[in-house]
Symmetry: C2
Subunit: 266 residues, 2 copies
């Protein structure tokens, strides 16, 4: 499973300040820390800083790629910011992941040429103009439409990451089940399509969020989750993912688990 570090996100106050002040060393250190702890890709999300998002994204892409050798997930609701980020992206560090397209026609028409131009991967959110459905059948229907549209446009099916959209379980007790059912439907219908979730949103508004995040990633892994955006510096969470990989038969001879143990990561 692809581990994507979540920490460079301007919804965290310290990140917002550091990006606004262009604190290169802080951002580099945070990038390094996440990769050291096991992130194989880093998410860059500065959507809460309205001003100069394209310029900030360019600065962020450059700054992070000077510090670490992993690919980046360019995460923004703003087409201009994604475009700007990709323009300065260092492709020697691996393929970028655009986050995201939706079934909203306008957004799809803007983002699609970027995916084609850079031949990168893309996250497709299971939502339309009307909002987010509470029904996994409906979310799958959107995923199905998006997969068809994207592959019709020549995007390789393996480059599509479906995000079934994680809403807090505190607002609807079925919110985790809806995600799990959508993941199952997607994988049953399209084994080659990848799936992705942002983990921590599930626990928003509840105490001891780490427990809910831990449980939720294990639950999602049962249904073949391919990528997850999470806090890779959370040692317990990362260790639990390794244990789950092992139990699901994906860690031959328990090699990765034992390696992590020897390195003090469990």
């Amino acid at each position: 499973m692809l581990i994507i570090g979540e920490k460079i996100n301007s919804s965290r106050k310290s990140i917002k300040e550091m990006v606004e002040n262009k604190n290169t060393e802080f951002i580099r250190e945070l990038a390094r820390k996440q990769v050291e702890c096991g992130a194989q890709m880093l998410d860059l999300n500065i959507g809460t800083i309205r001003k100069n998002e394209p310029e900030n994204m360019q600065w962020l892409v450059r700054t992070v790629q000077e510090a670490v050798d992993v690919p980046l997930c360019i995460d923004s609701p703003n087409y201009e910011a994604i475009k700007a980020g990709l323009e300065v992206y260092n492709w020697d560090k691996g393929k970028a992941l655009i986050n995201s397209v939706t079934a909203e026609r306008e957004r799809l028409e803007l983002i699609l040429p970027l995916v084609k131009k850079y031949q990168c991967s893309v996250v497709a959110l299971t939502m339309r103009e009307e909002g987010i459905s509470h029904d996994s059948k409906e979310r799958f229907k959107i995923a199905d439409e998006l997969v068809k549209k994207l592959t019709d446009e020549g995007i390789f099916i393996e480059e599509i990451y479906i995000d079934p959209l994680t809403l807090p379980v505190s607002t609807n007790i079925q919110n985790a089940n809806i995600v799990l059912e959508t993941l199952k439907r997607v994988k049953d219908s399209y084994p080659q399509v990848k799936t992705i979730i942002g983990l921590s949103n599930i626990s928003y508004g509840l105490p001891e969020r780490r427990l809910l995040n831990q449980s939720f990633v294990v639950l999602a892994m049962v249904f073949g989750l391919d990528a997850v955006i999470l806090d890779s510096t959370d040692k317990n969470l990362m260790a639990l993912i390794k244990a789950t990989d092992l139990l699901l038969g994906k860690d031959k001879f328990c090699k990765q688990y034992l390696k992590a143990f020897r390195e003090g990561r469990l």
Copy 2:
């Protein structure tokens, strides 16, 4: 999910000594501790003490039932020990769970009259004389035979707990998957039949066993696990089960989770 405390088990050296020396206060304290930490039933297993198992089981049943108000799981490969335990069982504390019958004809013929006589619940292991299969289809086939035999004999289907048998993942990387697939097959075919696992065996022979135990219980809960024998004094494990209940939509208004938080159990 029914939480069954595992700690009164003579494979732990201290327990073996305390039972051999009839240390009433030690056993009572251990029983109380497990119940305080959330066990709703206690497992009594002294199978490794070969001498006087029936007498020891009687002493243990009496001693534990004097200390706590939960039902017991009488766990032994020895028919005489189960029979002896049931003879002194205090039925005011709730229905006993006999652990276990198998598809071995002799064992089934011995245990069945006890289940009928006492109208208690019974664990049915998915194994025969020949041993334990590595194929979940075969384990389900045995479960299927056992459910049919037991219900033909008048045992209520809700009183049957199928145990798909947890072997260490260190000896076969598919051992967790085999259990999960068997659980799924049982629940798909017999929604009313209950399922049970002994948790900690999965992690035998590997470091940081707590991680594997934590992950495995979450995985099993996806497939509708009804009962689990575990260390209820492991706070993290118990908290993760509460988080999983919540995520699976079984904790209306997050009531149990928030209660556990207020009580300092998360």
